[in-house]
Amino acid sequence: MAKIVSGNVAGTGKGRQAGGGDPVNRLGLTARDYEGEKSTLCPGCGHEIATKQIVRALWEMSVEPYRIVKISGIGCSSRTPSFFAGRAHGFNGIHGRMPGLATGIAAANRELLPIGISGDGDTAAIGIGQFIHLIRRNVRMIYVMEDNGVYSLTKGQFSPTADIGSTLKDGSINDQEPVDCCSLAILLGCPYVARSFSGDPVQLLALLKGAIAHNGMAFVHVLSPCVTFNDHEGSTKSYKRIREAACPVHRIEFVPAEVAAKEPDRARRDGRDGTPRELHLADGSFFRLDPLEEGYDPGDRARALERIAAAARDGRLLTGLLYYEPNRLDMNRMLNLVEEPLANLPPGKTRPGREVLDEIMQTFK
């Protein structure tokens, strides 16, 4: 089996455009086809790097552009849907309400792949309620939270993910306990919880591809520094500090379905210490894991929470696939919906006949 390293040509690396142009994916599309408008973020912004990896993941996974919907709240991060997947519909809504919009969209058309983009303020402050209940509904979507520890669009106030002791540029210090959205998501049973860093595009790309392959809600927390308001000495969310603090629980490699298909009947392989070496995803792809944090098992909810908290006490930020639970019932199955997207149902299927009204009227006579 050929070893596929993230960052290779999409898929199996086969299709190339005739005439030797840009490489194409299984749909014959180039990475360009997954780009959007020209970015208006500050040069060096962490959100920019995250956006690039989203483009790459969608391209490599050969996601049909018309299936993608981009949804966001308000913030610098929430503006990024304009900058990727220009062939897809997008909805830049209101502050903190992306999860509600995404829920409605996912219910209305189950064939779509909703990608929600949010910030730490949009999620952990104004939107924390909707974030929690989105997880409880297990909406089939990818939820990317681009976390810089501040409200950048309103010019740099602390957000709820700011660490105790972190300072703003004006010297003010955060005294409040931060909200760890990954721990919260794990606690609430989100079936796919990953953390990565704009400074580690290889890991981020693998985790985004896994999120696309997964069937259910996938939460991807991206530490995404703001070079304008929170990248200074004293900030705990600067590139430098995150690079120091980030501790991947494993080296992770995403093996796409078409490669995995060549090795049928593949079971979960565990290492000598009992930690998993392979994790299988809904579409037939899998993750190959090379453990770095001894004994870290993304399938063990309680232990994962303990390990994340213990690491945080030591100033270490665990990254990677922190929690994974396949086969959790997703919203559309909970709602017991017909297979055909609700948005496409013809009137004949949604307006009951005359005899039904007559029958109902009889019960009130």
Partner: protein, 615 residues
């Protein structure tokens, strides 16, 4: 009939005169004792006798042990408002805590059936009293001590039925309908009614003048509440997503909708639903879910009341500016804040008309009876999709939660209007597609749905300022042009919302303007002004917003237009003034804000006072 009515007027009671099928009953009970079932049974039994009847439940914001009243009005003239909220001819007193207050407003000669230990008969000497040992009768009728407190009220129904002449068969049918196939409950409650009837036959000598006599005035009619009617409307509108957060008095729209959707909107073969039923975490989310769904092509709705409307403000503005269809039911209760959560009002009109920050405006459909609750619910989805905007259906607790009689609902004959949606095939014939361009001159642009497989289809929806191509813009001209075009859509909407009902009888000297649940009280008040005070009135029932041209024309025809509002600030008058400043001078407020539904007398008195006349 009116002869009898006049005999009672002003306390000049001639007790010998029979009152047949035109009187009111007040039932005073404690909540959590099954009184809701017994009240419906009593009302339904009268309906089964072919007599027009209406019921109003006055209940506390509490689940157990607080006073509750239910009033039933019988009226061969189909008067469904309370003539006066304080007047009734028969009191069924089951709650010692309120008995003295309940007796106080009663007219001489009226009749009181009460639980014997209360000893009410010495309290007034001008009323007819019937003491009944309800506890003893209930014990005999129901050996199970745990269930006993639930049958007491049905024993009282039996006593009332016997004294008034309501047939046992009518009671039995009402019980069967109430407990739908629950055999034990049917047996138990029928036995309790019979026990009451037997006791009354053996021990009570009829001394009052109230009679129920069989008529044939309700043939083919139904008895239903507005929330159920709206839920049915949504089912037949083809609604494909409902998201809600429970709140009195709106919850039962969603609860009934869920029941009907499970029954009538599931695939016969697989049992899978053609409608998503989502209980959201709050109203912020409920509306966000509805907007997401509407944007993606579902027919989506939510239902709430005042506090939920307040939370939906930001979302309503988003829907308005991004042009997404949504249907929002507001079943009004009395505020401000949590206010009187189980009482009625029309306090949200101004808020709905302009909900959210910025220059927002929303179409409102205002049903005034059960058939309109059904029809307007269907129409709301068509208008929302045609105009591409959130549409409100505004009712109130009185319409939504009280039982009303109505003709059976008419099946929606008009095909669904799914609005201007471009499909892949449409796009193939086009060179460009601009989401927010007014192609047809009606202000309404075309939209595409996510998932449309065509390179022209995609666009970015945003709540920030955008141009015709849906791109972000801060240019003054583009920003203005967008607001002006959206305003043009509301010109189009004026012709789509239900038109007012207007009556201009010859000789009318004044006009009355009303909306929503005030309709029955106003119509009775007009009869009274004509019959007792010689004042003929013209009448306009407003049923939709934005107002059509007819509305202004009507206002300018009369020297005075009394605008009936069930709120303190005269919200309809204010809205009319805002749109038709030229009519300002003629508008005269008639206001009612007690939490209890408006009655005819309030309207008559306020109009007479302003007309410079005495009652």
């Amino acid at each position: 009939m009116s002869g009898i009515g006049q005999a009672v007027e002003g306390g000049k009671t001639r007790s010998a005169e029979k009152l047949v099928n035109n009187f009111s009953i007040q039932v005073a009970t404690v909540n959590g004792t099954g009184s809701q079932s017994s009240n419906s049974i009593l009302m339904r039994a009268i309906f089964e006798m072919g007599i027009p009847v209406s019921g109003k439940n006055l209940f506390p914001s509490n689940i157990y042990g607080m006073p509750t009243w239910f009033t039933i009005r019988l009226s061969e003239r189909f008067y469904f408002a309370r003539e006066s909220v304080k007047e009734f001819d028969l009191l069924l007193a089951m709650n010692p805590a309120t008995a003295m207050d309940d007796l106080a407003p009663m007219k001489p000669g009226s009749c009181v059936i009460y639980d014997e230990p209360m000893g009410l008969r010495d309290r007034r000497d001008d009323l007819v009293f019937y003491p009944v040992p309800f506890a003893k009768l209930a014990a005999e009728a129901c050996p199970d001590t745990k269930l006993r407190r639930f049958v007491v009220n049905c024993v009282s129904v039996g006593v009332v039925a016997r004294l008034l002449g309501i047939e046992q068969a009518a009671c039995d049918k009402a019980v069967r309908l109430q407990f739908e196939g629950r055999v034990k409950a049917i047996e138990l409650n029928s036995a309790a009614i019979r026990a009451g009837m037997d006791y009354a036959a053996a021990h009570l000598e009829k001394r009052d003048r109230l009679y129920v006599e069989r008529r044939d005035l309700t043939r083919g009619m139904i008895l239903i509440d507005g929330n159920t009617a709206c839920a049915l409307g949504c089912i037949f509108a083809g609604c494909t997503l409902m998201a809600w957060y429970p709140i009195t008095p709106a919850s039962s729209i969603c609860e009934r909708f869920i029941e009907y959707a499970r029954k009538y909107r599931s695939d016969a073969r697989t049992g899978k639903l053609t409608c998503a039923l989502i209980q959201a975490e709050d109203e912020l989310a409920a509306l966000a879910i509805v907007l997401g769904a509407g944007w993606a092509g579902a027919r989506a709705m939510t239902a709430t009341s005042g506090p939920g409307v307040s939370l939906m403000a930001e979302g309503a503005g988003l829907g308005f500016y991004t042009e997404i269809p949504a249907v929002i039911f507001d079943v009004q209760r009395a505020g401000p804040s949590t206010g009187l959560p189980t009482r009625t009002s029309q306090q949200d009109l101004l808020k709905l008309a302009t909900l959210s920050h910025g220059d927002t405006r929303h179409p409102i459909l205002i049903p005034s009876n059960m058939a309109e609750c059904f029809d307007f619910s269907v129409q709301a989805f068509d208008i929302a999709e045609r105009i591409q905007t959130p549409v409100f259906v505004m009712l109130d607790l009185d319409l939504g939660m009280n039982p009303w009689i109505s003709g059976p609902f008419a099946y929606p004959e008009k095909p669904m209007d799914r609005g201007k949606v471009l499909t892949e095939r449409d796009l193939e014939k086009m060179k460009t597609f601009d989401r927010y361009r007014d192609v047809d001159g009606d202000g309404i642009p075309f939209r595409t749905l996510p998932g449309t497989r065509h390179p022209l289809a995609a666009y970015m929806t945003r709540g920030t300022s955008h141009n015709e191509k849906a791109q972000y813009t801060e240019r003054a001209a583009e920003y203005r042009a967008m607001l002006d075009r959206i305003a043009r859509k509301f010109e189009t909407a004026r012709h789509l919302v239900p038109p007012p009902i207007i009556e201009r009888p010859a000789g009318a000297t004044a006009a009355i303007v009303a909306y929503g649940s005030s309709r029955p009280a106003v119509e009775e008040a007009r009869d009274r002004l004509r019959e007792r005070h010689g004042i003929e009135t013209a009448y306009m029932l407003i049923r939709g917003y934005p107002f059509s041209d007819d509305v202004e024309r009507f206002l300018l025809e009369f020297p005075g237009a009394y605008v009936v509002d069930q709120n303190r600030s005269g919200q309809m008058a204010a809205l009319l003034r805002m749109h038709f400043p030229g009519a300002s001078a003629v508008l005269r407020p008639v206001l009612h804000y007690t939490g209890i539904a408006i009655d005819a007398r309030t309207i008559v008195e306020q109009i007479l006072a302003q007309e410079g006349e005495r009652t």
